[in-house]
């Protein structure tokens, strides 16, 4: 009985797609992506856990011929984050007094923006492209899979967001 348990645990250790193995490999990257996007510690913490809970439910849907594990998990995290943010925005409209306005929204135009504030001020669809390109070193094809948008849209969003970021951070060509 005990030896069976040992064999099972050994096999789980060997499985590169086990939830535990993937959690150790990708939790930091997913946390960093979500945190840089929404700049909310608690939400980022919860979303990392939710991503792997969702993965454990749907892991049989993963097809390594279609996408890499990194792309698959980032796509799950992104979808969960967008759903959560939409829900929060609906709640904000109903109960505005429960939410503190993000103080970074009030930065004066004369003041030089910090990189965090500049990223937060980018339109949502451009922000994701910048973050995935720069901090996670993903290709444009992988980004298009994660965000569920055409490759051409990724290119145009990257171009537009780079232009905006350079302007906001007062960076030259």
């Amino acid at each position: 009985m005990n030896s069976n348990k040992e064999i099972n645990s050994h096999m789980e250790k060997q499985d590169p797609y086990s939830v535990e193995t993937l959690f150790v490999t990708y939790k930091t990257a997913i946390y960093q992506f979500v945190y840089r996007y929404c700049q909310d510690e608690q939400m980022s913490f919860d979303l990392v856990q939710d991503t792997f809970i969702r993965y454990s439910k749907y892991q049989e849907h993963f097809d390594e011929k279609k996408s890499s594990m990194k792309t698959y998990l980032f796509r799950m995290a992104y979808q969960l984050m967008i759903n959560r943010l939409n829900k929060r925005n609906r709640m904000k409209k109903l109960l505005p007094f429960l939410y503190i306005q993000n103080q970074r929204d009030n930065v004066s135009t004369e003041e030089k923006l910090t990189v965090q504030a500049a990223i937060q001020q980018l339109p949502a669809e451009q922000r994701a492209v910048i973050l995935l390109t720069y901090y996670h070193d993903l290709t444009q094809k992988e980004i298009s899979e994660i965000l569920g948008i055409p490759l051409g849209t990724v290119k145009s969003r990257l171009h537009a967001s780079l232009k905006k970021l350079r302007k906001m951070l007062e960076v030259g060509e």
Partner: protein
């Protein structure tokens, strides 16, 4: 380095590198109680801000309860 990343000017890369994020120790399993506790303890707006009551606005502090009592007394007559 991906081809797209090379499109970033060096000065912008330096700026973006300033945004470092340190991930906390995250357990794989979530606890509903912990989440509820975090939600309850999350910072929220002061409800008195909605009424524009500040530390020195004594008149408002005195007036608002009286207005509330008046409205409660008036409510039955409005409902009939």
């Amino acid at each position: 380095m991906s081809k797209s990343k090379s499109e970033f000017p060096d000065e912008l890369k330096n700026k973006l590198d300033e945004f470092q994020v340190r991930a906390p120790d995250i357990p794989l399993k979530r606890s509903r109680w912990e989440r509820l506790a975090n939600w309850i303890h999350a910072p929220a707006k002061n409800p008195l801000d909605v009424l524009r009551v500040k530390g020195d606005s004594i008149i408002k502090v005195v007036l608002y309860p009286s207005v509330l009592i008046f409205l409660i007394c008036l409510a039955p007559s409005l409902l009939i």
